[in-house]
Every structure is written in structure tokens, then in C-alpha cells.
């Protein structure tokens, strides 16, 4: 029959295999090591970034004094007065405002995409969200400067370059992050929960708010934390619309300066202590981001359990 014939053929090849095996085994090991090295690039990058920023930035913090640096309310590089409070508050207020604007719209849009929209609308809304994520931040800044800023100046008075303008633009910029992550987590809520609620006679909307969103909570929170990260980190768009005054914002119509803008505005020419103070600003920003990362880690791990 066919089979003995075949066996014969393979038999002849069997002789060579052991030698080749040794060979492949060594290659396998080498390649695995290589893959590992590549994977380690990220680790070394993080270490290097942390190292450089901290090496360059921490001396200034000690020279200026930690408390003076963080709680000082005046920023005047010429006079060697470096108080970061206005920028810290600026960043925090801007982020809070962005969250206030972005989260409700984002989460509801995610609910819409994942639960309510008919197929054809999803096909319209989803690409729109992707586009929103793809638009370069400088275009948001540009748009903010020529549309939002004059609008605020005209309707609400003040200079227009203001906390409010920043909140609106950042609120828009974090939408895609929030939407896509919330959407995924809403979609991963087991179908069984939804069926269970519906089978008890709950309406669709009621099911969404009482069962689905609570079940997707940790994913949505993760999306929000990522959104916060994006808002805190945004630079160029903010510079164009914030007015960049290093003051503690007393109203949403006042200009602000964020941590990122502080760095970007003065990086070019600062030297000596002033330059170190900017790196120190980087350190503070970095610490903020790391705290967010850790929070995010905790959330996602909890979600994993």
C-alpha cells in the first residue's frame, strides 16, 4: 500500500536530523536572547529617561528648596525666583476641566457605540473617533487659537487665552482615549449580564446604567486615568491657547501656564539654575505621570482579578 512506501522515505531523512537539531537548538537560544534584548530596550529607555531627568533636575530642587520650589507662587527666572505652584495648579485645573468636559461626552459616546447605535452609525462614529485620535495636537492648538479663543473673548470677555479654552481643547483631545477604552471595556462586559437584566424585564437603558456601566467600571476608570495622563502631558496645543501667564488661576477666564508649557517656553534659552529649574519642572511632571501610571496599574490589575 501507500504507507510503507512513505515510511521508507522518511526513514532516510531521519538519519540527518540529530545533527541539525543541535544546530537549531543553538540558533533558537541565540534568537531568544536577541528578542529579550529588544524587549529590554524599553526598560533601559525608561531607566535612562528617569535617570537623566532626575540627575539634571533634582539639584535645582535642592538649591531652591523643595518647599519654595513646589509651593512658591512666583516664577521669575531673571530674579532667580522659582515657585512652581502656579504651574502645578494650572496643570491640575486644566486637567480637571478637561475631565469634566471629556468624561461625560466620552463615556456616553462609548455607550452609544457599544450598545445603542445601529451598525451604519457605528461605522460613522468609530472612524470619527479614530480621526480625533489621529489629528496632530498642534492642529488642536491652532483650532483653539483661531476659533475657541476669540469665541470666549467675545462671549465671555477676558483675553480668551484662558483656562476655559485649555479645558475645552484638552477635553476634546482626551475624548478618543476615553471613548476607545470605555468602549472596549463595555464590550467585554459578559453578554450574560445584559441578557440577565433584560430577561428580568429591565429596559435597555436601565440595563446599561444599572448593570453594564457598573460592570465596566474599572475599564472606564482606566480610560479616564489615561485621559488625565494625556491632558497633563499635552504641550504645544496648550501653549498656543493658555496665555502662559505664570499665575494661580482665579477664574476660568484667566490665563494659565501648565507645567509642560513652562518647560517648552523657556527651554531654549534658560541656562544655569534657570535651566535646571526647568528640568526640575520635568521631574515634578514626571512624578505626576508616574503616580498616574501606578494608579492605572492598580486599576487594571484589580480588573484582572
Amino acid at each position: 500500500m501507500i504507507l510503507p512506501n512513505l515510511i521508507h522515505k522518511v526513514e532516510t531523512h531521519r538519519l540527518e536530523i540529530p545533527k541539525k537539531l543541535q544546530h537549531t537548538k543553538i540558533i533558537e537560544k541565540i534568537v531568544e536572547k536577541f528578542f529579550f534584548l529588544c524587549a529590554f530596550v524599553s526598560v533601559s529607555s525608561v531607566i535612562m529617561i528617569t535617570f537623566f531627568i532626575f540627575i539634571k533636575g533634582s539639584p535645582a530642587i535642592f538649591k531652591i528648596g523643595i518647599l519654595d520650589f513646589i509651593f512658591g507662587t512666583q516664577w521669575n527666572p531673571e530674579g532667580e525666583i522659582f515657585g512652581l505652584m502656579p504651574m502645578i495648579l494650572g496643570s491640575l485645573c486644566a486637567t480637571a476641566g478637561a475631565i469634566l468636559i471629556g468624561v461625560p461626552i466620552g463615556v456616553l459616546t462609548a455607550v452609544f457605540i457599544a450598545e445603542l447605535a445601529p451598525e451604519w452609525l457605528v461605522r460613522l462614529v468609530k472612524p470619527a473617533v479614530e480621526l480625533l485620535a489621529g489629528i496632530p495636537s498642534v492642529i488642536y492648538g491652532f483650532f483653539g487659537l483661531i476659533v475657541i479663543v476669540p469665541l470666549i473673548a467675545k462671549k465671555l470677555g477676558g483675553p480668551g487665552n484662558s483656562l476655559l479654552a485649555v479645558c475645552i481643547i484638552l477635553g476634546i483631545m482626551i475624548l478618543p482615549t476615553i471613548i476607545s477604552i470605555s468602549e472596549t471595556s463595555i464590550r467585554t462586559v459578559p453578554k450574560e449580564y445584559k441578557e440577565g437584566a433584560l430577561a428580568l424585564g429591565a429596559s435597555h437603558i436601565k440595563t446599561i446604567f444599572t448593570v453594564i456601566i457598573p460592570a465596566a467600571k474599572s475599564g472606564i476608570t482606566a480610560g479616564i486615568v489615561l485621559g488625565i495622563g494625556r491632558a497633563i502631558g499635552e504641550t504645544m496645543a496648550v501653549i498656543l491657547i493658555s496665555g502662559n501667564a505664570a499665575i494661580i488661576p482665579k477664574s476660568v477666564l484667566k490665563p494659565i501656564r501648565t507645567l509642560t508649557a513652562n518647560i517648552a517656553l523657556e527651554m531654549g534659552y534658560a541656562y544655569g539654575l534657570a535651566q535646571e529649574a526647568l528640568f526640575a519642572t520635568g521631574v515634578i511632571l514626571f512624578i505626576f505621570i508616574m503616580i498616574l501610571n501606578i494608579i492605572l496599574n492598580v486599576i487594571t490589575h484589580r480588573a484582572g482579578e
Binding site: I105, V125, N293
Partner: protein
Amino acid sequence: MIWAAAFITVGVVAWILLYVVINGIGKINWDFLTTAPQGFGGGGIYPMIIATCYIVILTLLIAPPIGICSAIYLVEYAKSGKIVRVIRFATESLSGIPSIVFGLFGYLFFVTQLEWKYSLLSGAMTLSIMVLPTMIRTTEEALKSVPVSYREGSLGLGASKLRTIMKVVLPCALPGILSAVILSIGRIVGETAAVYFTVGFAPRMARSIMDSSRTLSVHMYVLTKEGDFANAFATATVLIIIVLTMNFIANLIGKKLNKSRI
């Protein structure tokens, strides 16, 4: 209320895109795309297009190979031990770091420490680190979405792990990886802060990768700042067209991918 939220989202996108494109498209012509800027702002954007291409190509030479290999390691080799947790944490942290911090780091390390000055190379290295996490993450997703049954099938036939990865897993993950690469092109083209501090903003044609130059988005930033709105609109339109095209291609690949899965 939910409909309103979705409507706002779509409305905002449409508003921004239409506003910019309608105001900008008129100014785009062959001259605009192929001449150098006049004075210090306006005029054409040829050198910026070239600089942007340089940056994209350089970054793509560096980031995807490292990213793909990292992802292979994480998905196929790594046992969930300490090392993996460290790597995971590193990539997650890296993806959370704002671009301005990358800019600072690039400035400190590549521009000053390595004395590469403001140059395309400094920028590309910085951007490579920056897009690495996205590369790794999306490639990981692509690899994970390859059914385990394919791996089992190959291993069950006596294929080695490496062979299984190269012959079965990677080809299946390729479309996913490709769309990751294309999406990161979008990110590279759109990045401003990190480029500003590493490539500089000389509005001139770069002669080599060690030259300073100005990418499209940095140009866009400078124009906006200087109030040259006419050119800013046009440049923004070019940027949007590039990003749209990238999104479109990535989507196309994604669709192909879905089809071949069925």
C-alpha cells in the same frame, strides 16, 4: 442624552476638519508643496515635507524591528515572571510619559550628551523610543489574536518554536503589525513637542541626517505662533490629509485582516 454625546463627538471632528480644510485647501498647489519658505515663515513647505519624510523613515528603521522583537519576546517566550513584569511596567510607563519629557530627554541625551546637536537623527531616536510602546502593544495584540490552535498545530507537527513563530504566527499577525506601523507614522508626523527640542526648527532643506530641519508639524506650530494663518491653514490641511490617508490605509488593512479571518 447619549445620542447627544455621540453627536457632539462627531460634530467636533467634522467641525475641526472642515474648518481647517475649507480654509486651507485653496492655498495648496504645486508651488506650495515644492518650494522653500520665503523669509522666515510663509512660502512653500518643501523642506518640511522632506524633513518629515526623513524623520518617518529613520524612525521606522529603528522602532518597528525593536518593537516587533520585543512583542515576540513578551508574547511567545516570556514566562510571567519578574522580568516580564518589569518589561510590562516599563512599556506602560513609557507610553504614559508626555512627549515634552521625551523632548527634554532627547535634548539632554542625544542633542547635548552625544553631541548630535539639533538633528534629524536626534529626533528620530527620540521618536523611536516614543512610539516603541505603541509598536509593542499593538504587535502584542496582533500576535495574541493569532489563534493558539495554529501554534499547537505547528508544534504538534514537531516544528521548533522559532519556526512556528516565523512561519505561522508572524505571517498571520502581519496585517495587524502593518497597521500598527502605519498608525505610528501618523503619530510621528503629528508630533511637535519632542521634535521641537531635538530636531530644532531651521526652515531649511536638510542635507544629511545630522542637519537640523523643521518638520511639518513644527512648521505648523511656528506659523500659528507667528500668526501666519493663511499658511498655517494650508499646512494643517496637508497634515490632516496625511493623517487621514494613514488612518484610511490602516483601516483598509484591518478590514482585509477581518476578512481573511472569516
